[in-house]
C-alpha cells in the first residue's frame, strides 16, 4: 500500500517537474522577449485622469491583436497606498504605474529588468532616462539594477500667460534670475497676480516646485539628486539651498503667490491659471494638452539661471511603470515598454496625448507637433536640459512621505510666516532622517 502510494507520488512529482521546468532551447536564448502569437491578457494598473497609458494600450492591441488588456485604475494618492498590496497579492500586475519604487525593489516585489535592458539595448539610451529607475542594493537610487521604465519623461518649468506678460512688457522669457525677479515685481505693481500656485495639503504643497528650481539656480544639481536618491550623508540643508529658500521666502513676503495658497488645490490652481489668473505658474508638461486647448495663449520657459549664460536646470522625471516580480506576462510587458519608446505611432501618441518627451534611443526623430503649441516649446527645452545634463528628480519624491510630512506642512508654515528659510531646511532634513532611520 505505502509503496504504491510512494510510487504514485514520485510519478506525479516527476510529471509536475517535466511540465514546470521549460527545456532550454538554443532558439529562445537568442530571441528578444516578445508577446508571442498566443492570446494574452495583460493585467495593468493605470492612474486615473491621465489618458496616455490607455491610448498607448489601445494602439498596442491594434498592432498586436493577440494582446488584450485588463486595465484597472485608481487615483495617484490611492496607488501610493495600495501598490504594496497589489504587487504582493494573488494577481500581481504585469504593468503598474509606480508612485515610488525603492521600498518595493528592496522588498523583492518588483521584477529586476536588467535582463530586458540587455536584450532590448536600453542601457545605450541617454543616461538620465534610465538612471532614475535604478536601485542599488543598499536602497539608494540612481545606480544599480533597473526596476522600472518611463512611458515618457516629463519636464517642468514656468508656463506664462502671453497676454498678461505683454501687458507688463515681457516680450521674451527672462534670461537670468534677476531679470525674472524684475518681471515679477512689475506684475505685482500692475495689480496682477505674479505666480499662480497651489498649496493645500489635499494635493500637496506646490511651492516645492519654485523652491527646487531656485535650488538648482543657486547651486549644482548633483547634491539635490543625491538627496533624492538617498545617498549616504546627503543633506538638503546646504548653503546654496539656504539662499534658494531665502529667495522663495522673499517671493512669499512680496505677495507674489495667491494669499489663499494654503487652501488651493492643484486642479483649482490650474483652472484659475487657464482662466487668466496669474502671469506665471510653475508646472510640468503633463498639463500641455490643457494649455494647448487655447493655442498661442500660453508660453513656456525653463527657470532662468543665476548668471547670464549659465545652464538652466529642471525637474524631469520618468512616468514610471514597473512589472511585478511574479507577473504572469513579464516578457510581453517589457516588450510593451520598449515599444512605447521606439515605435513611431506610439511616440506620436506619447507626444500628442502625454505632452512629454517619449525618450528612447538618442537617434530617433522627434514626433511632429504644431509650431505654436506649448508642447513644441517644452520639447525644445527638454533638448537643452538633456544636453546640459541638469535634469533632477523631484525633492517631493525623496521618500514616500517626505512630501506629506515634510515639505507640505513646513512650506505652509512659511506662507503663514511661522517658519523661515533656515528652519524649513532643518525641519525637512530632520523628518528625512527620521523616515530613513526606520
Amino acid at each position: 500500500m505505502s509503496t504504491t502510494r510512494k510510487f504514485i507520488c514520485t510519478v506525479a512529482l516527476l510529471a509536475i517537474l517535466l511540465v514546470a521546468v521549460p527545456m532550454p532551447s538554443p532558439s529562445t536564448a537568442q530571441e528578444v522577449p516578445n508577446c508571442g502569437t498566443e492570446p494574452i491578457t495583460l493585467n495593468a494598473y493605470f492612474e486615473t485622469g491621465f489618458d496616455l497609458p490607455f491610448k498607448l494600450a489601445e494602439e498596442f492591441s491594434k498592432q498586436y491583436p493577440n494582446v488584450t488588456w485588463d486595465i484597472k485604475q485608481d487615483q495617484f494618492t490611492n496607488l501610493i497606498n495600495s501598490t504594496p498590496r497589489l504587487l504582493s497579492g494573488d494577481n500581481p500586475p504585469d504593468l503598474i504605474r509606480l508612485p515610488t519604487m525603492v521600498s518595493f525593489a528592496k522588498q523583492g516585489l518588483l521584477k529586476n529588468l536588467d535582463e530586458y535592458a540587455a536584450a532590448f539595448g536600453w542601457n545605450e539610451w541617454p543616461v538620465p532616462q534610465i538612471n532614475q529607475n535604478r536601485v542599488a542594493e543598499d536602497g539608494t537610487r540612481g545606480s544599480g539594477s533597473l526596476y522600472a521604465m518611463g512611458l515618457n519623461y516629463s519636464l517642468t518649468g514656468i508656463f506664462y500667460n502671453k497676454e498678461l506678460a505683454a501687458q507688463i512688457g515681457m516680450t521674451e522669457p527672462p534670461k537670468t534670475l534677476a531679470e525674472f525677479d524684475e518681471v515679477l515685481a512689475r506684475a505685482k505693481e500692475a495689480g496682477l497676480l505674479p505666480i499662480m500656485m497651489w498649496g493645500s495639503a489635499k494635493s500637496g504643497m506646490g511651492l516645492a516646485f519654485p523652491l527646487q528650481n531656485l535650488m538648482a539656480a543657486y547651486g549644482p544639481v548633483e547634491p539635490i539628486n543625491d538627496w533624492i536618491f538617498q545617498k549616504p550623508g546627503a543633506t538638503i540643508d546646504t548653503p546654496t539651498n539656504l539662499l534658494a529658500a531665502q529667495h522663495l521666502q522673499r517671493w512669499i513676503e512680496s505677495g507674489y503667490f495667491p494669499p489663499d495658497i494654503n487652501a488651493i488645490e492643484y486642479t483649482d490652481a490650474n483652472a484659475r491659471f487657464v482662466e487668466g489668473e496669474g502671469v506665471f505658474i510653475f508646472n510640468g508638461d503633463w498639463e500641455n494638452a490643457r494649455y494647448d486647448t487655447k493655442p498661442g495663449k500660453f508660453g513656456f520657459f525653463l527657470m532662468p539661471p543665476l548668471e547670464a549664460g549659465g545652464s538652466p536646470a529642471a525637474m524631469s522625471a520618468p512616468l514610471t511603470f514597473g512589472i511585478a516580480a511574479r507577473a504572469k506576462h513579464a516578457d510581453c510587458a517589457a516588450f510593451f515598454l520598449n515599444w512605447v519608446a521606439t515605435d513611431e505611432a506610439a511616440r506620436q501618441i506619447n507626444v500628442t496625448v502625454g505632452g512629454s518627451n517619449p525618450g528612447g534611443p538618442s537617434g530617433l526623430p522627434m514626433p511632429s507637433v504644431p509650431p505654436d503649441s506649448v508642447t513644441n516649446e517644452t520639447l525644445a527645452a527638454g533638448v537643452v536640459i538633456g544636453e546640459a545634463g541638469t535634469a533632477m528628480d523631484f525633492i517631493a519624491n525623496a521618500t514616500s512621505a517626505i512630501f506629506a510630512q515634510g515639505w507640505t506642512p513646513e512650506l505652509q508654515k512659511m506662507v503663514a510666516g511661522k517658519q523661515d528659510a533656515a528652519g524649513l531646511l532643518k525641519a525637512v532634513q530632520a523628518e528625512y532622517e527620521r523616515q530613513l532611520a526606520e
Partner: protein, 315 residues
C-alpha cells in the same frame, strides 16, 4: 452527562428535583437558541472587530512594513509616539475638536429640540427635523468638497461677509492656521447637530407632560423647565449623544481628510489622519498600530465616565 445519569436514577424518587432539571433543560435550550441567534452577528463582530483589534495590539509591538518579516521592538513604537512632537500635537487637536463635534451640537441640539417640542409641532416640526438631519444622509465626501468651495477665499461665505461690510475678516478659512480647525469644527457641527436634535427630541416626546404642567402651575418659566425637568430627565439621551459625538471627534478622519487633509502645517492633523499616513503612505504598520491603540485607550478614558454619569439613577 451528569444530568442524564441523575434523571434515569432519581426520576421516581424526587419529582420536584426532576421538574427543576426539566426547567434547567428549557433554560439551557433557550440559551442555546439565543446563542444561535447571536452567532452570525458575533462571528462578524469577532472576524471584523475583535480579530483586527487584537492584531493591531500585536502589530504595535513590532516593526513591520506590512509585507516583509516582522521585528519585535517591545514598547519602542509607544515611546516614539510620545517623543515625536507632531504625533502628540494630533492628540491635542483631537481634544480641541471635541468642543466643536460634541459640546456645541449637544448643547445646541438640546435648545433646538426643546424649542421644536414647544412651538414647532406638526408638519413644520417634521420638516425642520428632516432638514437638520439631512447632513447625516448626504455622503460626507461630497459635502466636504462643497464646504471647501463655500469656505474658499472666493467662496460664498466670504462673499456674504463682504456684502455685510466685514471684508476685513475674509480669509481662506481652511488654509488659515488659526481658523482651519474651527472651520473643520463648523462642518462637524453641521453634520452632528441633526443627529443630536432628533435623538433628544424623541426623548422629549416620551416625557410626562404632567411634569411640565405642575411646574408651570408653580410658576416656572421656559428656562427653569428646561434646566430642572428637560435636561435631568434626558440624561440617558444626552449620554448617548455625548458618547457618539466625543468618539466622532477623537477618532475623526473623514471630515478632516476631505476638508483639509491635516493642513495647513499640522493645524488640523488628528490621530486618524496620522494613522492613515503612517500605515499606508509610510508603511510603518507598527507605529500606526501603536498610535491607534493609544487613541482607543484615550477614547475609553473619556467615554467611560460619560457612560457612568448618564447611567446613575440618583441626581
Amino acid at each position: 452527562m451528569v444530568t442524564m445519569m441523575m434523571r434515569s436514577d432519581d426520576r421516581s424518587a424526587a419529582p420536584a428535583f426532576s421538574r427543576w432539571i426539566a426547567l434547567g433543560r428549557v433554560i439551557r435550550r433557550e440559551t442555546l437558541i439565543g446563542w444561535l441567534f447571536v452567532l452570525p452577528a458575533l462571528t462578524m463582530y469577532a472576524v471584523f472587530v475583535l480579530l483586527p483589534f487584537l492584531l493591531s495590539v500585536r502589530y504595535s509591538f513590532y516593526r513591520w512594513d506590512g509585507i516583509g518579516p516582522m521585528t519585535w521592538v517591545g514598547l519602542k513604537n509607544y515611546r516614539t509616539v510620545l517623543e515625536v512632537p507632531n504625533l502628540l500635537e494630533t492628540i491635542y487637536n483631537a481634544f480641541r475638536l471635541v468642543a466643536y463635534f460634541s459640546f456645541i451640537p449637544v448643547t445646541l441640539g438640546l435648545v433646538v429640540a426643546s424649542v421644536m417640542y414647544r412651538v414647532a409641532t406638526g408638519s413644520f416640526g417634521a420638516a425642520a427635523r428632516t432638514v437638520l438631519f439631512l447632513p447625516q444622509v448626504i455622503p460626507l465626501v461630497a459635502a466636504g468638497i462643497i464646504w471647501g468651495w463655500l469656505l474658499a477665499l472666493p467662496g460664498l461665505i466670504n462673499e456674504i461677509l463682504r456684502a455685510v461690510g466685514l471684508g476685513s475678516v475674509t480669509r481662506a478659512w481652511l488654509g488659515d492656521f488659526d481658523w482651519a480647525l474651527p472651520s473643520v469644527g463648523l462642518i462637524g457641527i453641521w453634520v452632528l447637530l441633526g443627529f443630536c436634535t432628533v435623538l433628544l427630541w424623541t426623548g422629549m416626546t416620551k416625557l410626562d407632560p404632567a411634569l411640565y404642567e405642575s411646574a408651570r402651575i408653580d410658576g416656572a418659566g421656559w428656562f427653569t423647565e428646561f434646566i430642572k425637568i428637560t435636561v435631568p430627565l434626558l440624561r440617558h439621551e444626552i449620554g448617548v449623544c455625548l458618547t457618539v459625538t466625543v468618539t466622532a471627534a477623537l477618532a475623526a478622519f473623514d471630515i478632516v481628510y476631505v476638508a483639509t487633509a491635516g493642513g495647513p502645517g499640522n493645524a488640523t492633523a488628528v490621530p486618524g489622519i496620522q494613522i492613515y499616513i503612517l500605515a499606508f503612505t509610510q508603511q510603518r504598520i507598527g507605529l500606526a498600530s501603536a498610535l491607534a491603540v493609544m487613541l482607543m485607550v484615550l477614547v475609553l478614558v473619556v467615554i467611560l465616565p460619560i457612560q457612568r454619569l448618564s447611567r446613575e439613577t440618583t441626581l
